[in-house]
Amino acid sequence: MTAYLPPAQRIWWKEPVGRQEILWIAIALIWCLIMFFMMPYWHVYGKQNLSNEAYQTTPAKFGEKVQAMIDEYTVRTETDQQIPVVAPPAGSDIYMLGRLWQWWPILELEKDKTYRLHLSSMDWNHGFSLQPVNINLQVIPGYEMVLNITPDTAGEFGVVCNEYCGIGHHSMLGRIYVKE
């Protein structure tokens, strides 16, 4: 009977299933398996994957690494806050930290060169949202995420914070330059 009454056939599990349902379940299962297959496939043949390289760290330790990079490779500063613009050599380890409420420092990269980007937070969760490329990563205090990044478009890119981090969240904005 209707779905809110007990099944009319007491031995309902022996009732035959209609062809239509069997066909649909088969089609749906195949589609589910294709979707499952796509993720490992992309790890092998796709170009956008996370390295899964990560380390536990502390704000102090990570801050030192960022500062070492800034001390060595700063090429200029921008705005009245004197935000350093750092141009590390291609292929090197580059760092960006999130804190209330800025991404620090500004990075200047070369197009089509690969860098090892390290991300961490000094305080709360932040969201690294590279725009308008639209790459979005979670940045968590105490964890250092490492990914190999290859900018393939030149220009000026914004780093929006897209994880809510308090009252100044909307003003947390960083920048990455990519030069030809």
Partner: protein, 575 residues
Amino acid sequence: MANFRLCPDTGLYFDKNAESLIKVNAVAAVVSLLVAGILALGVALTRWPAVHLLPADQFYMFLTAHGIDALLFWIIFFEIAILYFASSTLLRCRLAAPRWAWLGFALMLIGAVTTNVAIFQGSSSVMMTSYVPMQAAPHFYLGLILFAVGALIGCFVFFGTLVIARNERTYEGSIPLVTFGAVTAAIIAVFTIACGAIILVPTLLWSIGYIAYIDPAMYRVIWWGMGHSSQQINVAAHVSVWYLVAGLTLGARPMSEKVSRFAFLLYIFFLQLASAHHILVDPGISSEWKIFNTSYAMYLAVLASLIHGLTVPGSMEVAQRAKGYTHGLFEWLRKAPWGNPAFSSTFISIVIFGFIGGITGVVMGTEQINLIIHNTIYVPAHFHATVAVGTTLTFMGLTFFLIPVLFRRQMIFPTLARWQPFLFGGSMTVLILFMMGAGTLGVSRRHWDMDFAGAALSFEYSGMAYTLMGIAGIGAVVAVLAGGAFLLITVGSLLFGKKLDPSAGILQNFLGIPLSRGTYTAQPEVLPMAAPVEEHGSAGFEAPGTFILAMILLISFVVYYFINWKYLSSVWPLS
């Protein structure tokens, strides 16, 4: 049987305790929805760039409370009502431990009020997710814990009622499918609440200084064990209500008990793995773990939803064809009771949940595709399709049905009630589609100002992003008005609707549309025997129209899925 009331329209037996508890939980739910809706207006009018109504602190406060009131309090109060209905009422059984049930309700109410007080005191604008180390006031967490304990008691009252019904043989054979779905929801709820306790109790202790440190990455993993699983309770609950409404409004019966129950079983086994969806771009978690969990073990829970997507409308089609609506593929759908808000809200909910909520959920839950979607406003677009249209609209439709049946009041403004599901579903769809578009352009969720006022640096979103956010804002405002219409009708009917004689049958005139004859079980003690299944479809298909709709869903799914891979392949290479 002295404590039972027989509903003259539906043949449903209401245990007096269960009836009172269903009523108070439903009322608490509707009040939560009222608060959530008012807050939604503030949120929407702030994110609409041209209006930008609230200052930042109020915006984040409103957004925190909107999430918690809409996603937790409205839905879970209502789900407790559904659990009591699906056990006590559908099994014609007294409710187990009614005093415990009242205690559970009291805890939920106290918890809901406490958390709201904490938020509106201004010190707990931490969003629903309250990611540590951002800290809320202790009573923010305490309220959530009390609410969860109350809900857990409700689940055990439900399980107890099932045991009593079995022992006292109040039904024959197996429990009804709707009750089976409710069992699914309750089992997932127990898992959900356990995760909530594991993470929120230490967080409470941390907020008052007894624990020094909570690992922020671990917090996210376990919190989402609660956060996403609670949405799976919703799925199990609203799919059960779909089956219920299909039965109540069309006399539909499941195409196959075996298939539908198997699909619910898949939910129990695999849905909880979904917490992984939220940590796909987190550091420190391996791809193997992400792929296994995010795909709910090879998408077996998605398979379950795809099955329900066929069997619920399919059962409606079979019932309609049996009534003689057999012309072509879709006469059954054209001649469906669209003027009955219980039906229309359910059908709109099925369509939007499947076509938008389901597809976007799977797409953004794909490990690599999440890179281009994580924390953009695409995410709230997805869960408004699943929760605001999927769950909320379904529950709204059921509420329209319960006003005469449970509360014995005639509905006021029946014309408005007829249009309400279309208005709410339509405006929500506008909101959802345009938020999806804005999210694809990178607009952030939970963000007060897409102009970044006060930032040292600058970034400009495209003009298109502003246009999309503006149209989404219009959709949101209309949706709030449609939600207001729902509240006006339900609260107005409870307060001012004509009282119905407890013994009179009125559902024959439920909005002027007779209910299916299959729902009148005048002799409820004797369960009617099923008529032999007749072949009404074509080519051996019982529901060919539904099969076509399902294939359209599948094709949309495949196309949209690969479009997103294409889009992903255009962003900077990462490895």
